[in-house]
Symmetry: C2
């Protein structure tokens, strides 16, 4: 085959994969935003078929042959083309091992599962979710073997979300985090907590919507290319670097919930919107890994969003929107309130300090579920036991326990650790930024442009052009989790005068 022809085939293949991705993303987005309640069945039929078509398009031997040809001629390719071939080859090796039938069944299952999970969570009915979760675990155990038969199943799944990461690595990482943070959490437990009751007054949704608009403006998110929707569980979905959607959930009695979810998802969006044009419609478009993605979202949410300078910058707007609720509160009080550290039940509402413990619970459960040492039926009990052990809290019901997150219903096992890794990456990025320029002066004036430009330069622009490890190296230098724990220890020691 001529090189030119092979490269044309490569481009066409990737554009088609992009189109199928758009299709299923659009159907998904619809399903969690405006679709009527009882419509999962027909959508499941469509999603199953589209997944099958996508599988047929990509998993066949002719694609393997094309990638081999291009792989052998790597020296004649541009850097971007070489990375496309590398990345597609990796994915092809995985997907070509999954039988089309199973791939389609799985697509149908995850569509159905989302619906089942929603209802189960609403009704505190784990038993309703259990059979679906059992199937999801079984599929993922099987898929893990397809992805990498040489790895233990959970390691193979972890590698999907963050290449190079495995349980040995995470066990060490989490142990180190735990050793450093648990004493701080204990010490805080003996201190007086700041008053945060004003966060839980009534905050009408309309005002919160205006706040979300304002925050997106502060983050430089162009609304002509970045939509904001409302869903039960906030998320970010990208079609391409000019079409990104974030969602949030407004709680009338919790101001911080949507405030920080918008900044969090806004961080994901900032990443996607900053990816360079010339890798659009290729497999390198989109953030490089879940860990790096979460590093960006949690960077904006916590390192910037929960810093005193940022809170001071946005506080006048908060007071303007909610004069009755915040008129007598100071920016400093607000800052202390949104950094109140206290073991709690709900991950997405957890403070920065105890957040990792929430992740560890999920990590332990996933490790055992996929490892085959824990049965689905025993998840609630294990969940509740680990929450007691790690966080010291009693889980009142599964709605506030093992049914709180959407990830498993979407078939994501091995995703959660990305949040913890991402947090750690972010802390190191901040320290590097601080060495290069004055971060806090502009942030204190509500100007995030330099921060965003640095992240674009070091992280965002590349998409998948660099590997996750290269991006981390680029922005963090040698990864050192102690930077993260030091950051937290320092921050919370100051906040609580430990």
């Amino acid at each position: 085959m001529e090189l030119k022809q092979a490269l044309e085939q490569l481009e066409t293949l990737q554009k088609k994969l992009y189109a199928y991705q758009c299709a299923s993303s659009s159907l998904y987005l619809d399903s969690v935003t405006v679709a009527p309640k009882d419509t999962a069945q027909g959508r499941g039929v469509a999603l199953g078929i589209l997944a099958g078509e996508q599988h047929k398009l990509f998993a066949g031997p002719e694609v393997g042959a094309l990638l081999d040809v291009l792989g052998e001629r790597g020296e004649e390719l541009t850097f971007s083309q070489r990375r496309q071939v590398e990345e597609l080859s990796r994915r092809w090796r995985q997907i070509s091992r999954i039988p089309a039938q199973e791939y389609m069944e799985y697509a149908r299952l995850t569509n159905e599962a989302s619906d089942v999970w929603h209802k189960a969570k609403e009704g505190n009915d784990f038993a309703a979710f259990r059979p679906v979760l059992e199937q999801l675990v079984a599929f993922n155990r099987k898929f893990a073997g397809y992805y990498d038969p040489d790895k233990a199943p959970y390691d193979a799944l972890l590698n999907e979300y963050e290449r190079g990461v495995d349980t040995a690595y995470l066990d060490r990482f989490f142990a180190a985090v735990r050793d450093k943070l648990v004493p701080v959490i204990r010490a805080i437990g003996e201190r007086e907590q700041p008053d945060d009751s004003f966060l839980y007054l009534e905050y009408p949704v309309q005002g919160q919507r205006e706040l979300a608009d304002y925050l997106m403006e502060v983050m430089g998110l162009d609304r002509a290319h970045c939509g904001l929707g409302e869903t039960e569980h906030p998320f970010t979905l990208e079609f391409n670097n000019r079409d990104v959607r974030i969602t949030t959930n407004y709680d009338e009695h919790n101001l911080a919930s949507s405030l920080y979810s918008v900044i969090h998802e806004g961080g994901h969006a900032r990443y996607e919107l900053n990816i360079q044009d010339d890798i659009q419609y290729t497999c390198l478009a989109g953030g490089v890994s879940m860990g790096v993605h979460e590093s960006q979202s949690r960077f904006y949410e916590n390192l910037i969003g929960r810093s005193l300078p940022f809170v001071r910058a946005i506080f006048p707007k908060l007071q303007e929107l909610f004069p009755a609720q915040l008129g007598k509160v100071t920016a400093e009080q607000f800052h202390r309130a949104v950094n109140r550290a206290q073991p709690s039940l709900i991950r997405i509402e957890a403070d920065e300090l105890t957040y990792c413990l929430h992740i560890m619970v999920r990590y332990e459960i996933e490790k055992q579920l996929i490892g085959g040492t824990l049965e689905v039926k025993d998840v609630p009990e294990t969940w509740n036991r680990l929450y007691k052990e790690y966080l010291g809290v009693d889980v009142p019901d599964d709605t506030h326990g093992c049914l709180q997150d959407s990830h498993w219903s979407g078939g994501s096992f091995g995703y959660f650790p990305s949040y913890a890794l991402g947090s750690a990456y972010g802390a190191q990025m901040l320290r590097n930024m601080e060495k290069e320029f004055d971060v806090w002066g502009p942030v204190g004036r509500g100007d995030l442009s330099q921060v965003s430009a640095w992240l674009k330069d070091k992280v965002h622009q590349y998409g998948g052009l660099l590997t996750p490890a290269q991006v981390v190296k680029n922005a963090c230098g040698d990864f050192d989790p102690s930077v993260y724990t030091d950051y937290l220890v320092q921050k919370y020691s100051e906040l609580y005068r430990l």
Copy 2:
């Protein structure tokens, strides 16, 4: 090939076509509801590719061969299978003549055109829309030749929307309608108009939303299967018989606009939701033709919705929602107001009597555009001239003139006459209903169940199992446009005491 195998292939093919339809419908729905403004480009890439894949799936010779095999063995097939083969063969003959490249280009063009049209309409800028419209006309002229090279181009397009209908037929139909209605319209012009100023007071959107919910309930539309959204131009979109979406547009200073658009789109939805289960995911799912579809929407909107018994039934709710605006109005005054007949500029706000004249303007222009006797650049002038001639009104600008409808931007040429035909079908259905049961007693109590049951029985359930002509025969008997014109003459003679 074994029959069993061929039938399996037939089923798989249709399910795949359904899946692609869902994908592009979902992307379209997103684009007109929540998508950020400047995102058409990336979506266009995806839609173009999906259209190409769909084309590849359906237009190939192997599908022709499959349909031939099944066509020859028609006697061994069920009625439904036979109809599927018939319908698919018809579509295959058309699509297999369209080169894949053109098909994909057209999909990209219509995606882009929607955006261009929106902006052109907003800015009263026909020049901006003109180049796109020129391309759309050129494509449709070419496609007409593919659809049926033996027909004149516009006849071939008309046949797409309502099989068996052509310009000769429509010229006669419209001439008859015009002869009957124009004298009535003239006579009304000399009468005093009823006061309808209360329809244009301020009606807050929230109240109109509650009204829309109420109307959907009255129409028996199950919200678990039928969504309600907001778009500039109201429409109905069906994924399957358990997942239908309607949209409306709330005008704060025009109560009737959304009220009757919800009933209109609700009529389309009623049809789709009533189609039988066992033809879902086949080419027979969905309403049988645009004419029959519009007969249902306009049936609910006008024949029921603008009748005195129905207005009386819903009026207490209207007064409850808008006491300040309607507290002193009577149901009878409201009925007269929503039936005020007066030549006007905007089709979708036109009254039942003058509506057909709006259609005739579009019909004349399409006939000439597709026939090649009118250039796109001359559309505004011709539009304005015909509005003056047919309706006696002066068109102030293209926003309120030839840019008002979305149809052409979506590539629909030959659709408009369906509205007029549908109106005529509906009148005859009503007369047949009245012969069989007491229509107005229950309608006067807000009970539409018998009306809906009759329509389900005669029209809805069949989807495409019967041909359009068979459905019309089933519900109307021999089609006779004079039933429609008699209905209008009688209704408006009474209203205006002519």
